[in-house]
Point group: C2
Chain length 236, copies 2
DNA sequence: TTTTTTTGATAGTAATACTATTATTTTTGT
DNA sequence: ACAAAAATAATAGTATTACTATCAAAAAAA
């Protein structure tokens, strides 16, 4: 408990509005977009544009038009669209980390913790009012589709050094520790966790677009059951 | 047995050189690249270029330079680089399908079949001399990194209709049937298979680039053990 | 209210993702 | 071996992308 609270204290910053706010690293932007109106507009409308047309078609020019601004302004916040995506990616996982931390607070059983974590991972999220410029439901959609593209690139090592994946790695570690509580002799805790996380995104996507690759995984309860079943049986 | 041989007969085309050759669908090219010298050069050098610089940096112009030809020539074979990738993607899975078919031939036990399949999936492949213009080892590397990009796009449904994913879907079905032999009441055979397939790529990649997300999965035996363990325990 | 910072407007460049045209080379059918 | 057909190379051109640079205007901070 104390460990978790300390953890939260370190990773969250207390703001004027007397709510917690999720922070991402300085390597993920040139100028912090949360500190200005245009910055927040970039986040808000950029996310919606990404949802709309996907990463490949997404350009700063189109976003600039959408927010009635200019390319040069957006380039003052983000180096390029990949950094923008990495920003959202880290925001998402930092936020999920908090959700998961709350979901397992006061739970004794490690099995139950894992079940709750998987529920949080497979559930459709609720919009978080503390960040009005980020629609978390849309964010989840976008990250599910685009996140693998952040690391499946020739620039992985460089981007990894720049901290593009810290939040994700932290979360994997945290869940892996719970895996080890359940079965301390299991050899592949991190691998199991990252497999589950990736699968939660891709299976849902397959359910919607490539149904032959899956078994109705667009239905949340099925996806949840599928993943919990794999985890608990694997750890027995 | 007979079913498998018939299957092979249908999906493979007997060629002059008295060897089997893997064929991909007509929707995956404008002009069949295997029917000409430049076509084969495009495949061969295109694959190497992809390995070298990745899909994002890959352009037909660069490939044209590499093979001392022109953009317009390449465009006569493939609509764009995504179709080119889809061609390789289907070639890969068609070829793995054959490898897997041979690996399980004459094997009685379904458990053993599954073990052998996972071995084939996680092993570094050997170059297949029947297709001198495709270096299968490089192909595996490239597909591992780029394949998700074929389906994680706004054009999935359209590309799915065009048959961009048939080979992959076929293979998933085939392995899913073996899963059902092991446990006929398991509810998520296809999902388990596609999870394993994706994981076999990504875990190895994590092992090499993002080690904190996995547990030394760049070592083939570990990856194999990890995946077999998950499958067999899940199906118990 | 001056200074500093941020934004908008405009311009420009090299590269990408193509399409089109025509001359030349290669393949093929007889 | 030769004409006809097909394929390729060379060249040009367009709209868009992915930036960078400059400078004036607007907004925020001192």
């Amino acid at each position: 408990m104390i460990v978790i609270l300390l953890f939260l204290y370190v990773k969250l910053v207390y703001m004027q509005q007397s709510v917690f706010q999720i922070q991402v690293q300085e390597t993920l932007y040139i100028k912090d977009p949360t500190t200005s109106k245009v910055g927040k507009l970039i986040l808000e409308q950029g996310l919606l544009l990404l949802e709309d047309i996907g990463l490949e078609e997404f350009t700063f020019k189109k976003l600039a038009n959408k927010i009635a601004s200019t390319e040069s302004t957006i380039y003052r916040y983000f180096e390029n669209k990949h950094q923008f995506l990495a920003y959202l990616f880290n925001f998402y996982w930092a936020w999920m980390d908090v959700n998961i931390a709350f979901a397992v607070t006061n739970i004794e059983s490690s099995h139950e913790k894992l079940r709750r974590i998987i529920r949080v991972l497979t559930q459709k999220v609720n919009n978080d009012m503390r960040t009005p410029y980020i629609d978390e439901e849309v964010l989840q959609e976008v990250i599910a589709i685009e996140s693998s593209k952040t690391y499946l690139s020739k620039k992985v090592d460089q981007e990894n050094n720049a901290g593009y994946f810290v939040q994700y790695k932290k979360l994997v570690d945290r869940i892996a520790n719970i895996i080890l509580e359940i079965n301390p002799s299991y050899s592949y805790p991190n691998a199991l966790v990252s497999t589950i996380l990736e699968s939660s995104f891709h299976q849902r996507y397959f359910g919607m677009h490539l149904p032959r690759l899956t078994n109705e995984m667009h239905i949340q309860e099925r996806l949840e059951d599928f993943l919990i079943d794999i985890c608990l049986k694997t750890l027995k």
